[in-house]
């Protein structure tokens, strides 16, 4: 038995090493896939180890455990296989929420199991209280983020005085935790109060944050889940949980900061209501300006006789599942001798890299994708820019309008091109809820309709000319 325990302690070490190397490889393009598989192998090994690790007087309940593992794995695999690439961000958020919920449940049962007579003021209980708190926030917060990305919850859903409410909820939750721990013995009712307050805090924490910032929030909540898992690991004195959890907590925090940098905003700015709180100020600028509408035929002619065209994809392309259609249009134009490129804004879509994933799925060659800076150098010599379902990332207000909530975010300077055609479903403002002066620009024409159908029409028209 002793020998087995020793061996298993070291297989945990192997798992930890696999996590570290996996994460490291995941952050480089050539090795990313291998890194993911290594981390997955580490997790598999850790789960196996936890199943056979000798526990004195354990009931084991293996049949139940295996059942739950199989059910979970089947659901997880099924969802992962079926999910559309466009729904990726909300998927990550949903998965993350489930991890948080699991932490919450484990902490809850641990509280329930502590003998009532124990003095709660000890390291074990403090850790459990924190795990319950963090897990619950991660759970409800992720669910709200999921709802926002799925469109169940709109940004117009505003809580009264969100900042104040947030601080009040935070103070209440921590107060409830402190109260619970200061009692002479464990009172499970107080645990439930802490649970309820933490769950509500998760909601009030994420709700005021604009949908455009959700990727950052998901990344932040992801690191919460990691910290929650690490806290739960302290309860069991389990090295893999501590190490894996903290690894995710720390790397998640760094990733969150990197994402904020890509949008030229601070994390503080995102969390303390960036987009949504000041969105009203900029919403009124549309006044009585009129956007010019184009027909598919006009656009097709312009495209066919252009020397250089740049396509700017955005979330609209993802929604319409138009990645294959746009690639087809691009190929047809290339055959006509047009130099066609894609300009990829780092935060176009709902997640950094969203457009890269999407266009990769449609087999768009890598060298046809221009990054922000390269694209901005190309625009002045470009005959026509086709903006497909992108909005905030081409909003010139980010450069000039200091009152704009996205002021300071680097954008694609499409207005420098000779002509701009914006394909959009309607004149509604983008996800950040801000009007876009580009649409009323002199060189801009709008082509309304679903991106996929509009592009198909363009393909037909280009063929007809």
């Amino acid at each position: 038995m002793e020998a087995l325990t020793t061996l298993l302690n070291y297989t945990y070490l192997v798992s930890i090493i696999l996590f570290i190397i996996g994460l490291k490889k995941l952050s480089h393009p050539e090795t990313a896939r291998k890194g993911n598989l290594m981390a997955a192998a580490g997790m598999g090994l850790a789960i196996l180890t936890s199943l056979i690790y000798p526990i004195e007087g354990a009931n084991n309940n293996y049949i139940w455990i295996l059942g739950a593992l199989i059910v979970g794995a089947t659901i997880g695999l099924g969802v992962a296989k079926k999910i559309k690439m466009t729904a990726m961000p909300e998927m990550v958020s949903l998965f993350n929420g489930l991890g948080g919920a699991s932490t919450m449940l484990v902490a809850l049962v641990e509280f329930y199991n502590y003998p009532a007579a124990t003095d709660p003021l000890n390291g074990q209980m403090i850790t459990t209280a924190f795990a319950l708190f963090v897990g619950s926030i991660s759970f409800t917060g992720s669910m709200i983020a999921y709802g926002k990305l799925q469109g169940f919850l709109r940004d117009s859903l505003v809580l009264p005085a969100p900042q104040v409410l947030n601080i009040v909820m935070l103070v209440l939750s921590i107060g409830a935790g402190a109260f619970l721990l200061s009692q002479p013995e464990i009172n499970f009712n107080y645990v439930l109060i802490l649970l309820a307050l933490s769950l509500v805090y998760g909601v009030t924490f994420v709700t005021p944050i604009g949908g455009g910032d959700m990727p950052v929030v998901i990344s932040l909540l992801n690191s919460f889940t990691g910290i929650g898992a690490a806290l739960a690991g302290l309860i069991y004195g389990n090295q893999v949980m501590i190490f894996g959890g903290i690894l995710v907590g720390a790397s998640g925090t760094i990733l969150t900061v990197l994402m904020c940098n890509a949008m030229n905003r601070s994390l503080f700015n995102v969390v303390i209501g960036g987009f949504s709180s000041s969105g009203k100020a900029a919403a009124g600028t549309d006044g009585d300006q009129v956007a010019k509408e184009a027909t598919a035929t006009d656009v097709a002619i312009q495209l066919k006789y252009a020397q250089k065209a740049i396509i700017v994809p955005g979330y609209g392309l993802a929604v319409a599942q138009a990645q294959h259609t746009i690639h087809e249009l691009e190929k047809i134009l290339a055959e006509e001798g047009v130099d066609v490129k894609y300009a990829i804004h780092p935060v176009a879509g709902r997640m950094p890299g969203h457009m890269n994933v999407l266009l990769a799925e449609a087999d768009v060659p890598y060298e046809n994708l221009l990054e922000l800076e390269a694209a901005n150098k190309e625009f002045p010599s470009t005959d026509i820019v086709l903006v497909v379902g992108a909005n905030d990332v081409v909003n010139p207000a980010a450069k000039v309008d200091e009152s704009s909530p996205i002021y300071g975010m680097p954008i694609l300077d499409v207005e420098l091109a000779k002509n701009v055609v914006v394909m959009k479903r309607s004149m509604n403002p983008g996800y950040a809820g801000i009007q876009n002066p580009l649409f009323f620009g002199e060189k801009t024409k709008m082509l309304f309709g679903d991106a996929k159908k509009s592009i198909q029409k363009l393909i037909e028209e280009v063929g007809n000319i």
Binding site: L23, K24, G67, L105, I218, V240, S251, I254, E361
Partner: protein, 106 residues
Amino acid sequence: MDIILQFLNENLTMIYLLVFASYLGMEIISKVPTVLHTPLMSGANAISGVVVIGAIYLLRQSAPNDYFAMILGLLGITLATINVVGGFAVTNRMLEMFNKKKKAKS
């Protein structure tokens, strides 16, 4: 207070581990191309499902007739497993597409 000191002493190695792991986590991910932000987040998210191990320990230690612990524990295992398996599978799917892209390049 004594109890807390005792906890800090007894878990010294764990706390060391905590500190080094935080540092390592921050070091590993210092420069990541934007393209990989989403897959990396998704992969890290799968690792955060490591709490499944806690849920497994919890269930192994629970009495089969302790319905509260059994039900919540089983739910905990199921949810965390969805997080782990779904997370890794989704990440793999995303990265597969990048590989396809590389082939197209060559």
